[in-house]
Symmetry: C3
Subunit: 346 residues, 3 copies
Amino acid sequence: EVEITPRGRMHLDAGMYKDDVTEIGNGFNVRRGRLGMQGNLSPDWRFVIEYDFAEGGDASAADVNIRTKLAGGNVTIGHQRVPFSLNTLTSSNSITFMERSSGSTVITPDRKLGVRFDKTFGNLTSESMLFGRTMNTEGDAGKDDSMGLAQRIIYHPKVDDVQYHFAGAFVYQDMGDYNTLRLRDRPELRIDSGVRLIDTGTLEGINSINRFGLEAAFINGAWSAEAEAMTLNTSSTVEDVSFSGYHFQLSYVLTGESRSYKNGLFSGVKPSKESGAIEVAARYSVTDLNDGTVFGGEQKNLTLGVNYYLLNNLRFMGNIVFSDIDTPSGVTEEPIGFGVRVQYHF
Amino acid sequence: EVEITPRGRMHLDAGMYKDDVTEIGNGFNVRRGRLGMQGNLSPDWRFVIEYDFAEGGDASAADVNIRTKLAGGNVTIGHQRVPFSLNTLTSSNSITFMERSSGSTVITPDRKLGVRFDKTFGNLTSESMLFGRTMNTEGDAGKDDSMGLAQRIIYHPKVDDVQYHFAGAFVYQDMGDYNTLRLRDRPELRIDSGVRLIDTGTLEGINSINRFGLEAAFINGAWSAEAEAMTLNTSSTVEDVSFSGYHFQLSYVLTGESRSYKNGLFSGVKPSKESGAIEVAARYSVTDLNDGTVFGGEQKNLTLGVNYYLLNNLRFMGNIVFSDIDTPSGVTEEPIGFGVRVQYHF
Amino acid sequence: EVEITPRGRMHLDAGMYKDDVTEIGNGFNVRRGRLGMQGNLSPDWRFVIEYDFAEGGDASAADVNIRTKLAGGNVTIGHQRVPFSLNTLTSSNSITFMERSSGSTVITPDRKLGVRFDKTFGNLTSESMLFGRTMNTEGDAGKDDSMGLAQRIIYHPKVDDVQYHFAGAFVYQDMGDYNTLRLRDRPELRIDSGVRLIDTGTLEGINSINRFGLEAAFINGAWSAEAEAMTLNTSSTVEDVSFSGYHFQLSYVLTGESRSYKNGLFSGVKPSKESGAIEVAARYSVTDLNDGTVFGGEQKNLTLGVNYYLLNNLRFMGNIVFSDIDTPSGVTEEPIGFGVRVQYHF
């Protein structure tokens, strides 16, 4: 009666950079190398346990949770994504570019331990979560975990075969006894995962964080577009600061397929022919980590990408990222990154 | 011909403490997050490989072994539990409270690499093991591993539908070139895994260790009871000391099911109705880490628990732990812990 | 349509040493404890993801790649073995002795991220690879990965039921921004993985490395023999040095089975009877890490082994290793190692 299916993914990157001031390393990177299991304990209870072993040998927990139906919706208990940011909530198997937008990467809470409840009422979907810490973090003796609440509301009407998506989200996070915050990011490519050109450094005295996000997107046949803006505001004993990010992206599937979408969530392109599907896309993103006395830098990236979907679960990607970065040390850098990825999942 | 079945488990805890002197952190904890495989290489050879990735990203080996029949019994080669302590030998999926008794936790050798032979003669079961080190420990260059021998004998008659269990066990462990010992424990709840209020500190000059354990238990329909007492005695170049622990527990399944039992081993409650089974239980445990010049402290815990078995492999637990602890620093602390768990396995 | 099969292996060793000058630890060692998945994304695309969790809790990547047919051959993308050294390329499930020859261990590049193309033309097989770094290594910010090219050519005629194998291989590796090299090894047994009696120490200023290898082998019914010689030459800003290793081995299957072989690759003995197969074998190996001003030592080992193949995937091994080692500190040591292994894979 218990059904179990293995799951996993490999995302293998190779790439190089046209450096500006800071040297950025060229070579290979296993961006994701995951193994896990999913299945049903009974028709009503669905579980997943998945870990990533790509980064430095340590297990990094992906989804580790259990889900059941409740009051016409789904309740999920365990390690899972906090409902905030369309780009973050899109599976890494289905994101349009090799990396998520820099804003989504630094500002969203990503995965946390907690209880989430999702319910769809016609064209409206609500996602709510009570959450604690991320797995494998915050283990100091005697300290209370950070805790938070998230609410995302999506309006997703389909009009004349055009899928629209409008969403707003809010996250309140009490930092518990973990009162520091550090936001930093790579230039939207992670061949060299050690070089981050924007970085607030460690901010002390953070009591709580508020995050706000707005999303708009549509899918019209082979065309799709997505726009997000989000801010993070600290309540601090030192200085209240606010950081923000936004991005726009446009993609077009040359072979005519549409991106998939359901109740507030994008997934990938499924090729309709044996020869596969080809998608071209462009994104512009801005991430601003400067506020008050904090000079974490500002990063603007233009990314051009091409995706070749050979199978539903096998994709080849190519990205060029043109960056324009004001670094915390007051220098302007304009590196260009070139990356390719082969990815599969099962 | 080779049959392989995935296995795994998630034990997710949330909880808080009413602190006394020492602050203990509140929040979430993934107590176990395991993935593995088990199966048959042939009808005669059964294998299992399972790791836990919940704690801090490192893989922690659970059972990694192979088993076959020999001389009417089972011989198991590899990483497995040393036959000592009913509470330790009960699977974490089936233990009555969220944590094993403190005595079982600090005094038993738990899993080691070695060869174990189990055989049942009617109402008598014998478990013997020659063992070395725990996986992922004791890797210093040039040092001999610790080695040991364990023997457990269980008498388990069933009289008038009442299952009785009486057992005695002995473990001799030569410390090889690893001549230190440190016993310490948390207050029978592991939301904050960093706070241990009893702790012998690191004892030097340990040549060998003897452990003795006595067990008694019964299952009478919906009622079951279990009692254990165990001691650990060091043979040391510094000072021979002796530590001990014992616990009593009583559980009652409100919905009428019985705990399962076979040849010296308890397993869990299988709900007979779709609405699940409910068990209430109480335990009193004492762990004494004071002897000679070592003042590791003494911990007395009263735990009240309720378990809701929704499926054979899905359980919700709630525990309250009232502690009375003489800490090594000479303070008496009486924290109260509140914990809940959702757990599944496959 | 996607087919997934779990895979894994346990190699459990126990052993002891008759020490000479340096103390070497006795005890147990889990040499390999792997879990993974393999399968087909489609009839044309085959994947594998496997990690080893035996060593110290960190995940160590084994094969993590994807393969398809191309131009009458196979192209494999991802983490995999560089085509160099018959002994290294033989799966650890099928190697004749508990450890590979010391030369193969220190001189071959083992697994790297990259793209490999294999093609067989009648009795000739060509294996080519463009490779970068090993997974979980070389992660320093701002540094370019090492990159290399490998080519192995195997001539493998079968004449009068005798399988012959002759091969030559060459590897060029540009060190990128990782300009150090350290070669060191244990005495062909890894019960105590911390004691290495030959060791060049860390050599600085390495720009590139060339490796050359020659292989000869045959299988004649129950007899098989294998010989390898290889060198590693550095191009350095400090001092160009050259290290080398070679080994001969002979094995005989008492029960009459043959070792398996296909297109340049040995695999194991499959027992033809229920009582299993027994193989005896001997190997002599020399590894020379002395050159120029580098005195890394020289290691000569004679290994005698017996293998009992109970099933296709279950094997028991016993090895005695007589070593004669000139250590870097100028001492001659002659330890003797005794090891046994139980291994299974699925």
